[in-house]
Symmetry: C2
Subunit: 307 residues, 2 copies
DNA sequence: CGTATGCTTGAACGTTATCAATACTGGTGG
DNA sequence: CCACCAGTATTGATAACGTTCAAGCATACG
């Protein structure tokens, strides 16, 4: 890359990370400073169906209004409160463990750009988005930012090595989260072997995802990074039962850049070239239509000449 | 960065990744091809003390001959066979679980550059190095390589998301490994809650390490990467009771480069400049003396002007 | 309809890769 | 013991990819 893939740094001058709206203050004091903290409107153990499975064919959910609409009315499912269908932890749990888990469950809502927790905060919960998207990021003193992951419907995040979060969690879109208090969860684990295995499985899946991300960051070119990103978003959408073709990209260019280790400009330029080359279409902000999935995939794997 | 941080690629021409000795064949066929596979000299449930805790003050163990020498002769410790002292999983386990775990344990030895398992292989064991070092890497079709981690005495690796390894494991130095068969381990877990918690804890620790690595790869400059690498090696050495100051760097420049997302040349140049600036000393191959730990650490965090 | 915010596009620059020798290091055989 | 050799590390010159700086453009919003 160029000279300043990271020249944002040094004495805090310059552009810093791609600052997101009111994050200027937060940029100065990355560790549990608390300014701009979210207001955390939350509801305890809601029993009404909160959000339906994604309506395919719908428009971008980029900054869409909070979701609404009832899910399919199947026979009573204790997992229904969080509206996650089969994606959540609840799934595949024996009845006893499932009920115990659901007893712990609580719902949280955040608006876009609100902070859920900050690097250095005590880790108190595990979270699963029910609707919307969350990003996790680490920040350097001078404001350089690296997004470590995006989390969508059914993903699990909030894992902490010690008792403290290693990254900051912020809402990309308005988001609704299913959360489980760690203390009570841990107390439950000895009596819930299936659940514990499930949590471990999730952690291992995240490890595998990190392996890919490390390869991407360390060894892929900008076009390959973007291609990988789109392919990954598409695959993940498919895994949760959404269509793969119109890839919904709810995050802005700044977030994409900070996830891929690039700058906004490079992301923009690269997507433009993808469009010119007939790889993708960009009908509206937040939506990418994949026109040549095979070539995009080959590009992502480094087996295609970019131009 | 420059133009070709990743231009090694494309049509397999050019330099590929930094090829390690006889890995040419393996480079062509990254997935379970099996050529150049290790011979895996292993011993089942050895009862003789195999290797002592690291003797501080000793010379580089870079490509040192296999270790020898008895550990402290404490009252009989069932964990002694693997010689890991308090670092292993055994530690902190109730007696019953510990014995059960040790019954599964087996020892494996590899020479430097031998492959333990390959990306795509079925995941059959969890491993802990007792002496020596292992690297894990992913490879792209055209030979670009990204090392995802180095594992030393007491570290745990071999986690797989599905039933298959996501990376290749290769010995950096002659290495002795304590290994546990996954199938029997899983069968044991329901009766060994402490053990399961311990495995989860290890996986979470690895997640935290990945977060740091992602920040490093995505947002740090070459000098910052090198500084972070040295600091990390020093800290990890200290955590396992070894001295931090003469940092032992058993891997070659190619491995360092493929870990940090750089080239051999940049690694070499950067270390040379560190030496010229009085940050470090390079007395012998495989040994780095930290002369200004504070500045090195600040550099690693991006809070120091490189030059 | 004007102002904010984010996205796109252009030109110049810089860090890091590439290409190419040269020097070193450890092991082996004369 | 030393010359040799293969692998490895260092150093130099050049160039490229991606960044930085700087406008211009679109989309949303009051």
């Amino acid at each position: 890359m160029g000279p300043g893939q990271r020249s944002v740094r040094r004495s805090g001058r310059g552009r810093r990370a791609h600052l997101v709206r009111r994050s200027a203050a937060a940029a100065q004091t990355p560790l549990h400073p608390g300014p701009g903290r979210a207001k955390l409107t939350w509801i305890n153990r809601i029993m009404i169906p909160l959000s339906p499975p994604p309506d395919p064919g719908g428009a971008a959910m980029a900054s869409a209004p909070p979701p609404a609409g009832p899910p399919d009315n199947a026979p009573f499912d204790p997992c229904q409160p969080c509206g996650l269908g089969g994606l959540a932890l609840c799934r595949d749990l024996p009845e006893r463990e499932r009920l115990a888990l659901i007893a712990l469950q609580t719902t949280v809502r955040l608006d876009a750009h609100e902070t859920l927790f900050t690097e250095g905060d005590r880790a108190l919960y595990l979270y699963t988005p029910v609707a919307g998207a969350i990003k996790l990021y680490k920040m350097m003193q001078d404001g350089r930012r690296q997004i470590t992951g995006f989390f969508f419907r059914g993903d699990l995040f909030g894992f902490a090595a010690g008792s403290v979060h290693g990254a900051t969690a912020e809402a990309v879109t308005p988001v609704e989260l299913c959360r489980f208090p760690l203390a009570r969860l841990e107390a439950l684990l000895p009596q819930a072997p299936t659940l514990e295995r499930l949590v471990l499985r999730r952690a291992l899946a995240r490890l595998a995802r990190y392996e890919d991300q490390v390869l991407l960051l360390g060894r892929k070119s900008a076009p390959e990074k973007l291609a990988s990103f789109l392919v990954s978003l598409a695959e993940r959408a498919q895994e949760r039962g959404e269509p793969a073709s119109p890839v919904l990209v709810p995050m802005g260019r700044a977030d994409v850049a900070d996830y891929l280790g690039l700058t906004i400009e490079t992301v923009s330029r690269t997507l433009t070239r993808f469009r010119q080359d007939g790889l993708i279409g960009l009908p509206r902000s937040g939506t990418v239509v994949v026109l040549d999935a095979a070539r995009l995939r080959r590009l992502a794997e480094g087996a295609e000449i970019p131009r």
